[in-house]
Every structure is written in structure tokens, then in C-alpha cells.
Assembly symmetry: C2
Homo-oligomer: 130 residues x 2
Amino acid sequence: MKTTRNTTAKTAVLEIFEKSTTALSHTEIYKELHDVCDRVTIYRILDRLINDDIVHKISNLDGTVKYAKCNHSHQKVHIHNHAHFSCENCNEITCLENVKPSYIMPHNYKVNEINFTLSGICPKCLNSNI
Amino acid sequence: MKTTRNTTAKTAVLEIFEKSTTALSHTEIYKELHDVCDRVTIYRILDRLINDDIVHKISNLDGTVKYAKCNHSHQKVHIHNHAHFSCENCNEITCLENVKPSYIMPHNYKVNEINFTLSGICPKCLNSNI
DNA sequence: ATATATTTGCAACAATATTGCATTAATAAA
DNA sequence: TTTATTAATGCAATATTGTTGCAAATATAT
């Protein structure tokens, strides 16, 4: 198995995820790191982090792609089966760790992963709009 | 209210949706219509169809965007709150009209729309892989 | 048949993502 | 600590996806 190295850029990306309470787009990450590394490097770091199961990818209703750090406490196996909320006002995406949809599937489908994204207005915007 | 016209290109797009059992990307639609109309026209037709509530937009786990015809039988109001299935093998997206997730949201969120996409292996691929 | 407002094509542009390749740097081994 | 190995990076080029402005074409109402 190939090892994945701890580089300056990778550490910087992880720090940004640590600080952030919302999911981040490639562009948002690059804005903070434009003097640390190249645009392309960030794409490659994100790919690696996804592969290593440290970060997961979220695609918004409008087609924009964001990334968030997984916080699988200490489970061996984990599935990103929690929901995401996408605010139509501030465009922030937050993980709703505790929202887990229940559903009944037709037979003959093998489900590996689910993506449950809700959109609307987040509490922050709901309050400030009064 | 502005009227939306029935043009050759729009009719052609609708025919493609009619024929297809899966959701289609802009690229897939354009492949069939490259001698009927321009790339841009298809984007604009899709925009109109979404506005007219004839087509809905689905964004896949990998960030790709697809479109599918709504089959809201005869309801006055309808919400696209059904699930979609994205096959990891053939990459087709199908609407699971009858799969409707139930979930409990934290307070203070105003939910306007939901997107529930499951990925894995579809029945067709499951059978052919035996 | 004519008026008018929508739709289209084209060209240009913007944003996002990918690839090849030489160089740099992190890690393992000596 | 030094050296060897291979992952990671930077840069340039390219691909893909989506958007905009404007003149010309076309669908619809009158």
C-alpha cells in the first residue's frame, strides 16, 4: 500500500478544515492558501484526503462541489450517511451529523453510499432576516 | 406571465427525455442534438424547462449535473422530494419515484427542497455481473 | 399578413477540473 | 547523518462546463 505523505500544503489544508464549521469549496480553500501552494496541488490533496477517508465530497443542488472533514469519532468503518444543509441565502453547507434519513428501497439495488442534502434557510440567516 | 414557446429544439429535447429511462447530462443531450441546435441553446432550454417545472435538476455525488423529466401525474403542486439512484458501474441516474426519506430536522432550519441520492449498483448491472 | 417578443447562433469569456513532465521534498534505508 | 527512492509539487497547457451580449431568426397573437 502506498503511503501518503505529510506535506506542508496538506497540513495547511487540514488546518483550514479544522477551523471551519462549514464545508469548503476548492476555491475557498485556495483563497487561503494561494501563497502556500498551487491550485492544482489543492485538487490533488483533496483527492488524497478523500481516498484516505479524511475528507468527504458534497455536491450541492446547484452543482457546486464542496469538501468537509469527516468526524468519524473512532469507528473502524464509517459511511457518510449523514445529511448536509445548504443555505440558499449565505450558500454555506453544514453537516447535520445527527440527521439520518430512513427509507425503503426497492429490491435489487445495492446501496453503497447515500447523499442527503437539504436546502433552505439556515438558523443564522433565519435570525438575521427578522 | 411570459409565455414559453414550442420550438423545434425544445421539442427535440423533450423527445429525448421521453425516450430515456435515466437522467441525462447536458453533454449527453447535446450529443444527440448537435446538428439540431447549439450547445448554449440546450442550456437555455433546460433552464426554461426547469422553470416550467417540466424537468428537474439532479446533482450526482461526483458533482456531475443531470436532468430528468418530472412525472408528476396530475398534481397541482409537486415537490421533487423523491430519491435518485446513481449507479457506480454504468453511471446512469434513475429516479426512484416511490422512495421518500423520512427524517427529523433540528429546529430553526427552514427546509425548502431536498436532494436524496443513493449510489451503488443498479439492478441491471447487478444481474449482468453474475 | 404583420407586429412583437421569445428564442437562437455565434463568439467571447469565466470558472472549474485534469494531465504531462521536470523538479522538489518527504520518508525509508544505509 | 547521509543517501536513495518515490510521492508530491509547480507550471504550462488543455479540457470541460457553464454564462453573457447582441444581432438575426422564428413562434405566436392580433
